[in-house]
Symmetry: C2
Subunit: 345 residues, 2 copies
């Protein structure tokens, strides 16, 4: 199995002195440098705007910095929200990170789900999917065309352009998409893109989504490779029930904060990521919180359905948590190849 990380640094502008903001980023960078050494495969990083609590906004810039400080770690976005970006500028930025990192970019993209961001950028939420699809087309064309081309879409127009630099990965870095509903998952499979499954859905729902994608990939004539499905899960290695419960409380508080910035005024945001259950029990069920044994049993359950790639969210940068997972959980899921070979592949 493969284990990656999912999350992000925070750099607040309103609270605490400047040094805290830089430390927020720098601490996360140091965390990922250690994660690479411990055998983690990747780091997927969010993009968010205008939160007021400092979530990462310029994802490809922070990810590039991390790329320069690491050597094998895959550099993932989870996810870049295409409606905010000029697709050609984004293709150039992503190609630059892919080229400099020797082909380590995993290009995760989404159409956006947070109401406050649609308001901030003044983009109607109804246009999200249309804009997303158009941008995918432009970015793919930008990466793969060695000849000049012209693109006249509904939202973006470009005349007589050739997009540089080239990507390192050919034909281009892999696309990853988050999806939850059956319809969305089928669209991801129709494009042949890799799939990101969110950290909030229950284990049963997650396995259902995994199998929906697998069937849809095969139905579309694509090969199915479980390393192309990243299952996000929160993790916390605890020795006692009290520690575990305290971690669940922290998680629920953070979740409410995210929910508040994402919700629409009519309290009816339809994004599947917004539909998580809000109970303590549901939180416990959906997470990898507990003793190493408890965590191993849950991962085993996912593996029994074919899951081979888990993206872990530690809800911060606890090195103890990271090291305990690496030393007390990961060894149970080693494949034949030693960790070093796996990380360098």
């Amino acid at each position: 199995m493969r284990f990656g990380l999912f999350g992000a640094a925070q750099a607040q502008r309103n609270q605490g002195p400047d040094v805290d903001s830089a430390a927020g980023f720098k601490d996360y960078i140091e965390y990922l440098i250690e994660a690479e050494a411990l055998g983690f495969h990747s780091s997927f990083m969010v993009e968010h705007h205008f939160t007021g609590f400092g979530q990462v906004s310029a994802t490809l810039n922070l990810l590039g910095w991390i790329g320069a400080k690491t050597t094998t770690l895959r550099l993932g976005t989870a996810v870049l929200v295409l409606p905010w970006h000029n697709p050609v500028l984004l293709a150039e930025q992503a190609a630059t990170v892919d080229l400099l990192s020797g082909g380590r970019l995993d290009f995760g993209v989404g159409k956006g789900y947070r109401h406050n961001e649609f308001v901030g950028f003044r983009i109607p939420m109804e246009e999200a999917e249309d804009r997303f699809n158009e941008s995918i087309d432009i970015i793919t064309k930008s990466w793969t065309s060695n000849e000049r081309f012209t693109f006249h879409g509904k939202y973006w127009q470009f005349d007589d352009i050739v997009v540089e630099p080239p990507t390192n990965q050919r034909p281009h870095p892999p696309f990853w998409q988050g999806a939850g509903s059956e319809g969305s998952i089928r669209k991801v499979a129709a494009r042949g893109h890799n799939l990101l499954l969110d950290q909030f859905a229950s284990m049963d729902e997650t396995m259902h989504r995994f199998n929906t994608y697998k069937a849809a990939m095969l139905a579309n004539g694509h090969a199915f490779d479980p390393s192309k499905v990243g299952v996000a899960r929160a993790f916390f290695v605890a020795d006692t029930v009290e520690e575990k419960n305290a971690a669940i409380e922290r998680r629920m508080t953070a979740q409410h904060r995210l929910h508040a910035v994402s919700q629409t005024p009519d309290n009816n945001n339809k994004a599947s990521i917004m539909a998580f259950s809000d109970t303590r029990e549901a939180n416990e069920e959906a997470t990898l919180f507990g003793t190493p044994d408890e965590i191993c049993r849950k991962i085993e359950r996912l593996r029994s359905q074919g899951v081979e790639y888990i993206l872990l969210n530690g809800g911060g940068t606890s090195r103890v948590n990271l090291r305990r997972f690496a030393t007390e959980v990961m060894p149970h899921f080693r494949t034949e190849a030693p960790a070093q070979t796996e990380a360098a592949e």
Copy 2:
């Protein structure tokens, strides 16, 4: 005096195998790492699009990578072309690089002058200045406002946003602007921005521009600090006249290529950077090409007018050229402080 570098890597998509593109970037990064060790103060890097010969497009991504590999080198853009960018996304990207680098960003901006880029992005050249001014206002507000704000401009609108992360430099990274005509230089001074003078203008013209800016800064009630004027010059340390002439020929060829992508169809591009003289004599006069003695005399002439900061363009990544300049020219212009202290300030 201070010596920085000005230029960029190239990564072509059409010529040669992939490894050449990555090598183009990596070679430039290694060049700058050595430059920092040799006592160079900064590296200013261009932004260009759709050239077909691989000029840097995602400047803040390459510059960030360089920031991660260096410790004191100032990271300059020369220049980011504001009309191409969503100003809020650009403010976030620049703040991220400034924060991660510990406040090393020099934010050079321009309104664009290359016809092929206006065509590619489908932005009328007539809107360039208006768009530039609006973006400066939004970016400044984004960097300095700890409170949410709304901005409804002619080209960009944002509602209820707070822009993160914070910059490291306060109130914000310094703005640098290129300018050539007297009117443009006065506008730069009116904003109190730092000035970049191009590598093409003659020595006399350059000194005239320098003095125009100095007078305008003082007239606007700003302090005048010569470290806030970067004078770009091409440099090549040669032992013989033949070597020097060959370097001038190479330079003229490259210049024609840039001119060709920049020119408007009516052959009447009014940008001051397009107005360089095309003769071999004019090229020799405007450059720092020649023996160390010849180069020192030219720099001395600039210094006699108050110039204290030169941005050198080596037209490539010749380490021999870089080292010879550092060891045979720079020591003649050491100020009281030793080089190490200067680089670490």
